[in-house]
């Protein structure tokens, strides 16, 4: 790979706390290597801001290898930036050229209120999981792991759905701020496995109810969520959620 350095202009959303109105600020950043990750570029900017006596930009990040789901950032009109199947922490600066202007915004959705600058509160996702995103099995009473064979294709599909990292890019990208891809992925993961079937009906119903309560919008199948999902979670999972939900609604005993 050819490496190069670049100078950039960053327009970043700054907001002191949830109550603050917030605004954009423009920062020049110089001598950014094409080998840096996007967050390392922000690190450089933050070091510069601290030295100038200014407040650094607050942003969520942790593993920096694309799996923890903590990083967010809506970059130039796309969650996680321009690359397919990618998180912000794995976006590298070779995606940009000298002189580029990059606009960075936080995830926008009522259900994801801004905490500070580019950090948002995604605890709504935890509460959706609390509503039923699990298999109720206490520690210690499991049967042998090979007691129940699971068709490989089903297991693979369940894994593909379970690969969701809970970053919220689907919500950020959706024009309706819908969380259906997130919920669909979890419902699918568990519905595809025999272990998940005893709670199948209540899970779909309760998770959707919680999702609605959190203030996410409804799904209109535009596909934007799938396009920006770092893990390539398929919107087929949404169709499956719709199916699970109605089957539950129509066949519940009570």
């Amino acid at each position: 790979m050819q490496h190069y350095n670049m100078n950039l202009t960053l327009k970043v959303w700054r907001q002191k706390n949830a109550a603050d109105k917030g605004h954009f600020e423009t920062y020049p950043v110089k001598n950014i290597s094409s080998e840096m990750s996007f967050l390392e570029m922000i690190d450089v900017l933050n070091e510069q801001l601290i030295k100038e006596g200014k407040e650094p930009i607050a942003f969520d990040h942790d593993c920096r290898e694309g799996i923890c789901g903590m990083c967010s950032m809506y970059i130039n009109g796309r969650p996680h930036g321009p690359w397919q199947h990618n998180t912000t922490c794995q976006l590298h600066m070779r995606a940009y050229q000298d002189g580029d202007t990059i606009v960075v915004e936080p995830w926008r959705a009522n259900a994801f209120p801004v905490v500070k600058d580019l950090m948002v509160d995604r605890s709504a996702f935890d509460r959706i999981i609390q509503a039923g995103g699990y298999i109720s099995v206490n520690t210690g009473n499991a049967v042998d792991a090979n007691a129940t064979p699971i068709e490989k294709d089903k297991a693979d599909d369940a894994f593909a759905a379970a690969a969701c990292i809970g970053c919220g890019a689907c919500v950020a990208a959706c024009k309706n701020s819908s969380a259906m891809l997130f919920v669909g992925a979890k419902v699918s993961h568990l519905a595809l496995l025999p272990q998940g079937s005893p709670e199948r009906k209540s899970r779909a119903v309760n998770m959707v109810a919680q999702m609605d309560k959190e203030g996410f919008g409804a799904c209109t199948n535009t596909g934007a969520c799938e396009a920006v999902c770092p893990k390539g979670i398929s919107i087929e999972n949404i169709a499956r959620l719709n199916r699970e939900y109605m089957m539950a609604g129509l066949t519940e005993d009570k």
């Binding site: 701020s177 596909g223 398929s234």
Partner: protein, 228 residues
């Protein structure tokens, strides 16, 4: 789960959109099929007979009530969803996502639907009101008297460029609306999986182009004088 949740939850609301949507798709098949009778080049005989059957037989008349209910439900529910979906993001982005990840018509179902609604008001005023309420001129076919709906069409479209353009635009709105709506309805109803996806998408695309095209050809043909 309460029964009401089937209609009030986000997924339930979408199910109603999907069900009414597919019902309207079925109606379009009937509608386009009947109207295509004008291409029989028989001076509207076949078309007027078909229209007469639809207007006088009890079954289509009952279905018509269902049709209006379905359209109404589709519209009201659609608007309600559009409003609540818009409200889910009070503070928007400075740089919109645009077409990065979705098609413009997928994002514009509310707008396209509203245009179709306006078209529908005009369309009902043009044809449904005269045939059911204010009355149409009679025409004799095989010695029997029929309503001359065909004549009404000719009269409307011949030499009336503005109306023809409005109808063609309506067909465009319909095409875009269907292009998203057809496959979306199947997804919403949970009727797709990877195996059927190509089938649903293919059929949807074909339907969304073919049906509006046939509809659009009607005013155009009459205006151009291809059928008389």
């Amino acid at each position: 789960m309460k029964w009401s949740e089937l209609f009030t939850s986000s997924v339930g609301k979408k199910w109603i959109m999907g069900l009414t949507g597919i019902f309207l798709v079925l109606f379009l098949i009937v509608h386009v099929g009947l109207n295509a009778c004008i291409f029989a080049m028989d001076g509207g005989v076949m078309f007027n007979k078909a229209a007469h059957f639809m207007g006088s037989n009890a079954v289509p008349r009952i279905l018509e009530i269902g049709l209006f209910a379905g359209i109404l439900l589709h519209i009201v529910q659609g608007w309600s969803l559009e409003l609540s979906n818009r409200a889910a993001r009070k503070k928007g982005y400075a740089i919109p996502m645009g077409n990065k990840g979705s098609k413009w018509y997928s994002r514009s179902m509310g707008l396209l639907g509203t245009l179709l609604f306006l078209f529908l008001v005009m369309h009902i005023a043009h044809f449904w009101v005269p045939s059911r309420i204010t009355g149409l001129d009679p025409v004799l076919i095989d010695g029997k008297e029929f309503h001359n709906l065909y004549g009404e069409m000719l009269q409307l479209f011949q030499g009336n460029l503005l109306v023809v353009i409005l109808y063609v635009l309506g067909c465009f709105a319909l095409a875009w609306h269907l292009l998203h709506g057809f496959q979306s309805a199947f997804r919403t109803l949970g009727l797709t999986n990877n195996r059927y996806l190509i089938l649903v998408e293919g059929a949807g695309a074909l339907f969304s182009i073919l049906v509006p095209l046939v509809f659009a050809l009607m005013p155009i043909s009459m205006y151009m004088g291809w059928i008389k």
